[in-house]
Each structure stands twice: as C-alpha cells, then as structure tokens.
Amino acid sequence: MSTIVQPVPRSVGRQIGRTALDWIPAVAVFAIGIGAWQGIVVAFHIQEFLLPKPTAIGHAFWTQKSVLWSQGIYTFKEALGGYALGSGLGILVALLFAAWRPLAGAFMPYAVAANAIPIIAFAPIMNNWFGLLNPFSKMAIAGVLCFFPVMINTLRGLTSVHPSSIELMQSYAAGRLSVFRRVRIPNALPHIFTGLKVATVLSMIGAIVGEYFGGPIEALGVKILNDSSYGNFTDAWAGIVMASLLGIVFYAVVALAERLTTSWHPSARAFHTE
C-alpha cells in the first residue's frame, strides 16, 4: 500500500538547515500562521464548527489534558504493539527473502500489489476477527500497515550491496552468515530506518482509523469521532493535537535511534559534512 507517506530524503533535511539561524524563518512562519489563523477566525466570524480558534483549541486541550493523555496512551499502546509486530515480522521476512532469493522473486510481485491496495479498508475485518473492544484488533491493522514498507525497504537494503564488498568478504573465506552480519545488515540499516520511520506514522494512522470503525470509549480515535459527530469540534481538534504530538514524538524517537546507530554510514557522513 503505497502508503500515505514516504520517507523524507536526506537532501530535504539538508535544505531545512541545522543551525539555530536557519530555523528563524520556520519559527516566524509558525508565529505568523497561528496569528493569521486566530485573526481570520475572529475577523470573519468563522463559526466554531468550521474552524475553531487556536486559543480555543489550546484551552480545550489544557482543560482536558488528563483525559486526553490517558486516551492518547491507550491508542499509542495499540500503535506501538502493531508497530513492533509489523516491523519485526517485516525485517524477519526480508532476511529470509534475502537469504533465499527465489522466494523473494515469487513473492515480491504480490508485495508490490499489496502496496497499491488501500489496506486500511481491512480495519473493519480486523475488528470483527479480534473483537471491537480488544486492542489487538487495532494492533493487527497497524501491524499489517507497517509490515510492507519495512519489509520492502529492508530487502532493498540487504540486496543493494556493492558486489566488490561481497567479493572482498569471499576472498577472506567468509561464510554466508558473516557476510550477512558484517556487510548486508550494516549496509541495510539506513534503508531499514527509512521503513521504520514511515511505519511510525502508519501505525498511528492504523490505530486511530481502526478506532473510527469502532472501539472502546477509552480510545483517542473514538473520542475524536464522537466529538466531531456531536459537533464538539474544538474538543475533537484537541484530540487531533494529542494524536499529532504522539505521532511526532514517536517519529522523533525513531529518527534519533537512526542517528545513533547509523552515524558511521557514508550517507550519514555526507549529510553532516556537506
């Protein structure tokens, strides 16, 4: 399922800038954006149900913060469970495919086709299979969503090794296992992280959209849907702010893990020195 998202390439990261000075325009845009939003809503008397004021959303977020937090954590746990399940399985399957290529040749066309279908449409099926109130039903859909990008990216990383590296290893009489351990897996790390970063967002989307099709009242997705269908749009936006914060933190944690584990990689070095 060609996901809703794709990784942000390093070149884009470079264009955003790294020093504090580079961030000034971004901070200015944030301030202007929020200010303009507030100004437009006030000036044109836009009704609350269409677009609430940022201050109203902030107020709703603050007054409901403890409920939002517990709902957010409930949904985040579902997303995290699905993420671990889907990504772990994706990496394992990719290792299997890389070790035994004919298997990959037979299955990859289906993986590509699976990429093109809206997998999220299976969310109601998962709810029926595992039970509406069972968190595992949301973990399952989040896991399926995470599986494909992680598997395909990992396989790409494992197989895009420079032939001369393999030849060098073979000239040292290295076995298959040590070629995997010392060449293929380290080489695949940046690709794996590309998949893992995409999967963070997908797992959140899987959990929340799974809850749109039904779930316990303790869940964030159920809250957002209920609030918006009863017309409490400000509260619903506060829920979205919570979902976004959790999504951003999740993504940032994985991006940090990438920094820590792949800082030695040529692509990361180029990123730092250019």
Binding site: A113, N115, A121, P124, G221, L225
Partner: protein
C-alpha cells in the same frame, strides 16, 4: 526515495518477453497459492476449533467461492446484483479520489517550483511540510468532511480535499528533489546561453524532475484512494465505497461475504489508480535514460 514502489529493471524487448511470460504464469500460480492458504487455514481451523489469534468459522473466514458468489447476489429480492452497486460505488469514490489526486498533484508541483526558487521560503515552510507527515492526517478526515459539509459544500468535494491533502506531500517533496537534480554543469551551460530562470525551469529543471514526480505520483495514486474511502466513512456519505464498508460492516455477522466483496472492490480501485499512473509514466518517460526510484 519512493518508500516502497519497486522499479523493475529495464531491459531490452528480448529480455522482456520471457519475463512477461513468466509473470503471466506467476499470477494464476500465486492466486492459486493464496486460495490454498486461505481454504487450508480455514479447514484446519474449523476442524481444530482454533480460537487464537481469532476464531475460525464461517463468519470470520467465509469460503472464497462464497465471496465470489456475493458479487452476483442481489441485495434485495429482485434487485440488481451486488456487483452493480459496487461498480457505482467505485465510480463515485474513484471520482473523489481522482479530483483529489489532480488537485493535490498540481498544488504539490507548484509548491515545489516556488520552494525551489527561494531559500527563505524553503527554510520557513519545509519543516512544516515535513512535520505534516508525522501527523496522523486521516485523523482530520471527520473534521474536514463534517465541517465543510455544514457549510453547504458538496460532501464529495470535502472528501476530495482529504485525498488532495494525502497526495500533495509526496509530490511536493519529490518534485523539489527532482528540480534540484540537474548537474551543475548543465545549469552552467544554460546560463552560458544566457537562459533566464523560466527557460532553465522549463527546459532543464522540469524535464529532469519528471522521473521523481512519477515515483511520487505512484505513491499518491493509492494514497488518494485511501483518503477518499476513509473520508467517506465519518460523514456516512452515501454512494461510495467507504459508505459501503460502514454499511456492510453492520451486517457482518449475517452476511460477511458482502464486506469482503467491498474490500476487494477497494483493492481493485487502488490497483487501477496505480496502474494508470504506471501507464502514464511509460508514455511520458518513454525516452528517459533511466528511472530514479
């Protein structure tokens, strides 16, 4: 950079023929294997009374033949068969997705052209474009559909807006990369001919960006279908596949095959969009030296 779109390596026609034949053979084989897995698991599960990870029974795993038959069964007595409804639902959702896809692709492309020419705007806007990706965008779907709906906007337009939102990001980021992809030497050559910004843009940067744009469009094609389907569900917008999913989901315990048939229709719609972009890419990039995945 496309997260997952896997490019086939391009060889000559000679190499392509046996590969096409192998592929044609692989498809029925793979479908047969899927059928065998499904029915095998079902048979074992029902015999062994499996309850983990889910209870295997006629409701949870209907016979595939039953799902196939569901396409031909009428919903009401003497009514048209299900496939008639699904066809019209798919056309409706496809229209929303196509409108959103076109809108998102144009906005994404124009945004990239603007950003490519201004470092200041890039510094100011790009972080938010990137952060927008870490936000579970579909969470906003109910807000947009219900909010615009109460304002008297045609609901399908609101759904198209969501599809557009999912489309624009990959296109904007990839186009920006593509516009910056020409070699410095090529830029110098253009400048030595005294070519202006517009000329460089149209003669050099845009053609160079096309492979990048198409690899984004392939991702966006499915994303727009996802946006349209999910956008329909909160509004209970009648007449689309998202509505059909919600509707048949309520009768799942008695007629599970209908929901499965609807999901198959969703899958086919997604694959159709993807293949349409692939076809367009082949036509437009016929003479491109290589594809950049």
């Amino acid at each position: 950079m496309s997260a997952i779109a896997v490019e086939p390596s391009r060889r000559g026609i000679v190499g392509a023929l046996p590969r096409a034949a192998a592929r044609a053979l692989l498809l029925p084989l793979g479908l047969a294997a899927l059928w065998g897995l499904w029915e095998g698991y079902r048979w074992l599960g029902i015999r062994g009374h499996w309850t983990w990870p889910f209870k295997v029974n006629d409701t949870n795993m209907p016979h595939l033949s039953k799902i196939w038959h569901a396409f031909g069964q009428p919903l009401q007595p003497d009514g048209p068969p299900l496939r008639h409804y699904l066809w019209h639902y798919a056309l409706f959702t496809g229209k929303e997705a196509l409108a959103g896809f076109a809108l998102g692709a144009v906005i994404g492309f124009l945004l990239a052209v603007v950003l490519a020419h201004s470092t200041l705007l890039r510094r100011g806007l790009l972080p938010y474009i990137v952060v927008s990706q870490t936000v579970p965008i579909l969470a906003i779907a109910p807000m947009v559909v219900l909010g615009l709906g109460t304002k008297g906007v045609n609901p399908w337009v609101a759904v198209a807006v969501i599809a557009a939102y999912l489309t624009f990001f990959p296109v904007a980021i990839n186009t920006l990369r593509g516009l910056h992809s020409p070699e410095p030497r090529a830029l110098e050559l253009m400048r030595s001919y005294a070519a202006g910004r517009w000329k460089i843009l149209w003669r050099l940067r845009v053609p160079a960006s096309l492979p990048y744009v198409f690899s984004a469009l392939k991702i966006s094609a499915t994303a727009s279908v996802i946006g349209a389907i999910i956008g329909e569900t909160p509004a209970s917008l009648q007449g689309g596949l998202g509505y059909a999913i919600v509707n048949f989901n309520q009768y799942y315990s008695t007629q599970p095959a209908n929901l499965w048939a609807t999901i198959i229709a969703c899958a086919l719609l997604g694959i159709t969009f993807f293949l349409a972009v692939v076809l367009l890419e082949r036509l437009v990039l016929k003479r491109a030296p290589e594809h950049v995945a």
